[in-house]
Symmetry: C2
Subunit: 202 residues, 2 copies
Amino acid sequence: MAAGLLVVLSGPSGVGKGTVCRQLFQLRPSLQLSLSLTTRPPRPEEKDGRDYEFTSPSRFQKLISGDAFLEWAVVYGHYYGTLKETVEANLDRGIDLLLEIDVQGALQVRRRLEEAVLVFLAPPSMEALRSRIAGRGTEDAVHLNRRLKAARQELSAYHLYDYLVINDGVEDAAASISAIIEAEKCKVKRGARPPAPGGEKR
Amino acid sequence: MAAGLLVVLSGPSGVGKGTVCRQLFQLRPSLQLSLSLTTRPPRPEEKDGRDYEFTSPSRFQKLISGDAFLEWAVVYGHYYGTLKETVEANLDRGIDLLLEIDVQGALQVRRRLEEAVLVFLAPPSMEALRSRIAGRGTEDAVHLNRRLKAARQELSAYHLYDYLVINDGVEDAAASISAIIEAEKCKVKRGARPPAPGGEKR
């Protein structure tokens, strides 16, 4: 059985990663979200074990000491990370995994798992991003500006990714990511093979 | 404007390249078939200027001497080739081109145009290929065996291609090639770019 594909999706805060991912899972039901651990408190709509595995800072730090993470990062004072063991077990079983993580995390994955596919989701324009972040209504002016500044920094890292998808529509963006997954599975260097040419009878 | 993509499609005789291509053009109407020149006489259903540009051996040899070909090959005693100038003019205009050529030709394209995307179409099994070739009804036993032998040789060249698509159904195979084109257009190293992060107003 072919090993699963590890797809890393990043993009600036507010670009619409969550919505695009939900649409992508509709298109590719076999794709699984790789659950991240975080020390951030759950938002009202979030469920432990579905959106994140919520955990304590002390447990998180123990896992860091034990080199248990494929990647981890601190974002706005909270820890986020992906356990190596979980990812490897799923890929070995042939499961395609989607990791929705930030730029710091994506680059750690690239260093440790060269065969990971890194996809960057970008807004169609900086204005579109600003309206999206402002439109959430959860941000005051200070936070809005901090997020926009972070977004600009994140955007400048796109060149470290394999693919860039512009989110100028949820369906098109999800279809493009789905096409990237399909194409990667056809890559000869990933092990795509014709039937054995030895003979007609096998 | 971004340059067009040059997609090279090869595969053993009888694998169903023609049928898959027709379906692919339905999926991607903007993709254009790059017309090959050939010295082979037209088959009854073929039209000059649509399927091939049919030409004389003497004109073909003059073009070879003038280094006018991106690739050319001799298959079963007939010349086939693609003019450099035509391909370059189309790519410069941002047109995506499909070249349906054999392994010899594909490797010449790879050497001259590194950014070409090489796709190999393979049968689901050698038996499926044999029935397809036999089923055409245009082949006697000698030709059938010659084609099967050639098919085995061609299959062994798959590892020189970027992608391998198994033709286990015309629609799926065409969808996979379409996904490969979509994915290649999202590649950062092909020039996919986010909006300029300079500011919100542009």
